[in-house]
């Protein structure tokens, strides 16, 4: 069970509050987690990754265990504390004014 913290706008869109927990079958990679997250909450499709390319949207970042995973390959295995639910996987919206 992996804990995921979404940005506030995506929590509203997915109609959840606080963290969500996601079961990932097989290796807990970034892409496997995002696939499972979107399968559980279909309204998030296209909002974290581009529909066609599956590339991360440029103004979103992925953090875990005080490390930035945003630029890591999609098949990067998540660190143990995230995979076993001790630490959350953070999806962060870039800071902006206006």
């Amino acid at each position: 069970m992996i804990r995921v913290l979404l940005p506030a706008h995506l929590r509203t869109l997915a109609r959840v509050t606080g963290e969500v927990t996601i079961d990932v079958a097989g290796q807990p990679t970034i892409v496997a987690l995002l696939d499972a997250l979107e399968a559980r909450y279909p309204t998030l499709q296209g909002t974290i990754r581009d529909h066609g390319t599956l590339e991360r949207r440029p103004f979103l970042r992925f953090f875990a265990c005080q490390e930035d995973y945003s630029l890591e390959p999609a098949d990067t295995v998540l660190p143990g504390p995230v995979a076993n639910g001790v630490e959350p996987f953070l999806i962060i919206g870039a800071m902006a004014g206006g």
């Binding site: 995506l10 909002t47 949207r57 979103l60």
Partner: protein
């Protein structure tokens, strides 16, 4: 008793304004989708409680929302807008060719006859259609074949912002793109042709009479005379009496013929409305006076409508989708500003009052007349 529902899209959410037929006391609901840009929301003419909204964000991309109860509740529906095949390239700002890239939905036009059918105008310019209530969207790719490689974005992006269905012939569609021009399909979107003969853009195009490349801002028609089109172009207010085959200028005595919206009175097809803006580089009303101009002669002769509108120190803009009319006996005219005001006139524009004054910048205003 008749009622009106005004659907307002803003930079930070959607608002639903409702009133009875007197249009004096208003209820304001919102913000819906708070914090998101709502370029446009519009109701189905066939089922007025079916609404569609374009919700977008620089962070999270495009979302489409649908309501089945007049905007009380909403559900996110299909948001996948994939161009058909390889869309190729269009002209970029520097004249080079640039790949087509989806950015957002500017305009949603529900079909006149089917609440589940909706047309979407998107940036980079293309037209999509759903026939299942916005679960799935499919491009009408023949539009890009109408010299799409010569289309070029304006400063606001290369957007398909206007979609008008001929009420007498659902196979006939009119659309407009900045900066490509106006186009017509006579076969339900299977093929398209430019309809820009008579448009002149001497300050924007090397060939001022080019077949495509004109920055059309908005097109409107009256349902009783769908062959008569009115257009607010970047500069110039234009009219066509032959479904766009040719255009003539009707700017007449306007103080400026630059502007964005144009609309037609609900009961008089020769009465039209524009909001003159000073220039393409100064997007606010001339002399700091917010004036709607009305022509009762189908153009050329215009009168300023000022009662209830600020006549000093006003430097807002009125965007292309931010004007609409109701169809009550005394026709109501509505428009929203980038300063967050939504003004209404219950008497065809003679007198105006603000419904709300402090919304985020208004992108779009659509009115539904309800029984």
């Amino acid at each position: 008793m008749s009622r009106v529902r005004v659907l307002v899209g803003t930079r930070k959410g959607a608002f639903v304004l409702t009133a009875d037929g007197k249009r004096q006391n208003w209820n304001v609901s919102g913000p819906h989708f708070a914090g998101w840009e709502i370029y446009h929301l519009k109701g189905s003419p066939k089922n007025p409680d079916r609404l569609y909204a374009s919700q977008s964000s620089g962070w999270f991309g495009q979302v489409i929302q649908r309501s089945n109860d007049g905007g009380k509740t909403w559900e996110a529906v299909g948001n996948k807008f994939a161009y058909d095949g390889n869309p190729g390239t269009h002209k970029w700002y520097d004249g080079t060719q640039h790949p087509w890239e989806f950015k957002r939905v500017w305009h949603l036009e529900p079909s006149l006859s089917d609440p589940d059918t909706v047309y979407a105008g998107v940036e980079d310019a293309a037209m999509f259609r759903t026939t299942d209530g916005a679960q799935n969207w499919h491009e009408l790719p023949a539009l890009r074949a109408a010299k799409g490689n010569l289309w070029q974005p304006g400063a606001g992006g290369m957007c398909l912002h206007t979609i008008v269905e001929d009420p007498r012939n659902p196979q006939r569609l009119f659309i407009a793109i900045s900066a490509a021009g106006a186009f017509r399909s006579d076969d339900g979107g299977q093929s398209w042709r430019p309809i820009n003969k008579g448009l002149k853009s001497p300050s924007e195009l090397p060939d001022p009479d080019a077949e495509v490349g004109h920055c059309v801002h908005r097109i409107a028609l009256h349902p009783s005379r769908p062959d008569v089109l009115f257009m607010q172009k970047h500069w110039d207010v234009m009219r066509s009496d032959n479904a766009g085959d040719s255009w003539t200028e009707i700017s007449g005595d306007l103080p400026s013929d630059f502007g964005f919206p144009i609309d037609v009175h609900a009961h008089d097809p020769e009465t039209i409305y524009v909001v003159p803006i000073k220039s393409d580089s100064e997007h606010f009303p001339p002399d700091g006076k917010l004036r709607v101009y009305r022509s009762k002669t189908g153009g050329n002769q215009w009168e300023a409508l000022t009662k209830g509108l600020p006549q000093r120190d006003c430097y807002v803009n009125v965007l292309r989708d931010a004007m609409s009319v109701d169809s009550l006996d005394s026709c109501g005219i509505y428009f929203g500003t980038t300063g967050g005001q939504v003004y209404a006139s219950a008497d065809s524009g003679d007198n105006w009052n603000p419904i709300v004054s402090h919304l985020p910048a208004v992108f779009s205003v659509e009115v539904q007349t309800l029984q």
